[in-house]
Subunit: 216 residues, 2 copies
Amino acid sequence: MTPLALVITTRSGPGVLHVVTGIIAAHSGDITSLTIVESSRDLTRLILEVSVQDAEALLADLAAAEPVTKVERVATFQHVFGKRVIIMGGGAQVGQVAIGAITEADRHNIRGEKISVDTIPLVGEQALAEAVRAVSRLPRASVLVLAGSLMGGEIEKAVRDVRAQGLTVISLNMAGSVPDASDLVVTDPVQAGVMAVMAIADTARFSIGRLSKRVF
Amino acid sequence: MTPLALVITTRSGPGVLHVVTGIIAAHSGDITSLTIVESSRDLTRLILEVSVQDAEALLADLAAAEPVTKVERVATFQHVFGKRVIIMGGGAQVGQVAIGAITEADRHNIRGEKISVDTIPLVGEQALAEAVRAVSRLPRASVLVLAGSLMGGEIEKAVRDVRAQGLTVISLNMAGSVPDASDLVVTDPVQAGVMAVMAIADTARFSIGRLSKRVF
């Protein structure tokens, strides 16, 4: 199966997506994502990531379909932006964790990896709990770092939920119940960022599962 | 039209997406994105963002469809992560721009905005040009900051292309032709990050278009 990323321009109108997904289903293509990047009265531009046996045949059928005006092959987000470290919490700490993570990602990306560092400063238990839960739905998110001074309650529940779904969670050493609910607790925010990148880098010899100690 | 984000669990198999998009087309729903977050031999979990007149009727028809086993309503990425500042380039500079952008985003998010700061440290003209072009395809990306010491050639062309598509580009003051191709040139990386956030925040009184000077 060849992974393809396509930018497809179509006329606008109800049912256009249905036609496009129908063509892909006919080729037994496996769609991994589809985003409408632009939609005016006349034209719609969509990005499709799909894996398929016969890329050329699919491209030809898409280009020939009635609603389609243009099909363009582009780089996949996995190829360009790779795995994602997600950092959230208070602005002061998120910034310091980001410094560590970006510097470490730089060292791995130079050796051929692709690791992105994505952040959002947020305040409030509900907003943070909602954002933690949303990470499990983010494409290519591999590890979450919670960076703050006090987190518990709903955020702790959200951390337990996303860990149960397979996400690795690193917490700064802070007040509240979030550190107890996390895979790893780190006191220095720069080191927390570095460790988050090490945990997901294929070029690093580091595995959280193999640590004998969980608090640093 | 109500914007909805749904997590839909279905049986796995070719054509399932075609069924789901068919139901949405029948409700004149406007799909903005669709991502397959998990796909095993038996089950597929997909996230759908869609705007529709009658949300309850769509939810009922989706839940009743043959391949669907569960429909769950969640928060949209726009609601949780909001607009995105994208920073790319050398690790040292990307980290400093991130510090400025995260600190400034914190101040706006406290006042009710949602602004994320997403970064990738990269080396090399081709990798950077490819990443710049990919930003125009990233959902919710509002402004790009190029943070490095030397950028030109293919990167300059990519900057001109994405600006023509409506993206705002801020460049650090650096060697090469990228600063000349950008909307704004800033010498201090922390200030570049702050200005990037100010440029997209609804709570800021700042507009790059209204500046009489383009280099700081």
